[in-house]
Symmetry: C2
Amino acid sequence: MAKIVKSLKDLDVPFNFHYPAGATIVTSRANNRDNAMAVAWHTALSRDPAFYAVSISPKRFTHSMIAETGEFVVNFMPVEQGELVALVAGCSGRDVDKLSAFQIAAHPGSQVKAPVLEKAFAAYECRVTERHTYGDHDLFVGEIMAVQFEPSLFQEGGRLDMERIAPIVYMGGDWYASPGKETYYLDRKGLMDAVLGKPAQPASP
Amino acid sequence: MAKIVKSLKDLDVPFNFHYPAGATIVTSRANNRDNAMAVAWHTALSRDPAFYAVSISPKRFTHSMIAETGEFVVNFMPVEQGELVALVAGCSGRDVDKLSAFQIAAHPGSQVKAPVLEKAFAAYECRVTERHTYGDHDLFVGEIMAVQFEPSLFQEGGRLDMERIAPIVYMGGDWYASPGKETYYLDRKGLMDAVLGKPAQPASP
């Protein structure tokens, strides 16, 4: 790689090197108002107990709603809903009642009051257990109280059936993409054995 | 969505609903040994100052190396390096000197001693500022001390040139995918104006 930049302030391009990332919609509900926000800064944190985290700027309306209620839902979206993701990303819940204005079909979570979007292929209902400020964003750590998903879309091993559904990923700016139908099976055990010339010890789970 | 599961223990499929996620390789160096690990649980945390985080089980060799040195590098990989990602995922640095066994070309970071992989299209050199245990994993919060990237691969707006490079994403199990060449531009401002029937206020950055 040809270029090394020590400070993001010296970068002549945005902080987008880490994309693609899933273009999720994070929903919240407070004071009888639902809200939705596009979030690309998110990650699984733990399997048992199950934790998921979202990183949200204190400037965002969603931040105040999650801070108040301690609840949020992460909705995983198909690329067919790209325009919805862009609409949700384009404005603040302070100015627009997004679920109403964009006619977003949703139902309350089973364990939290925040809405689960009908068009999501899976959703995590989360209750905040911790919140940490890291730089200009806060990380909301959520225990996953329930998973909602369409079972027919998930194949053996929990793999999304890409023949039937294409998840949307965010590429930075107003750019999105999707893995489409092509997936690659990489036989890590076979590869290991071939390269090392002996049966490999698997890494700890 | 048809199914609601309250505990991951009751799930008959793995905890893979949140994929795709970038299939990164996280590198570390301690006691004159380089190591590499495949990591799909990672996210940006902050822009200014720039922070990036990786979630790693205490069982992993990489965990002990980062804990000891307080440094790591997140390497963002193209799909052409899928076999390397699978090899790195398939074994532990306790058993295999992966950079040597898999002939991984790398050079030391400019600000940290952990190696930067030659085949990465971008890499974040990170110094740990905080570490938090969330469930069965620890989150290492790293301040980005330097960004390495190939400038010709990043277009205006910081968008990866998908005509030239296809990033690899992880789908769970031994399955991977890539967005390929097709990207979608979604004009959030235009969409907003059309749906709301008036010029929209942008959300806070």
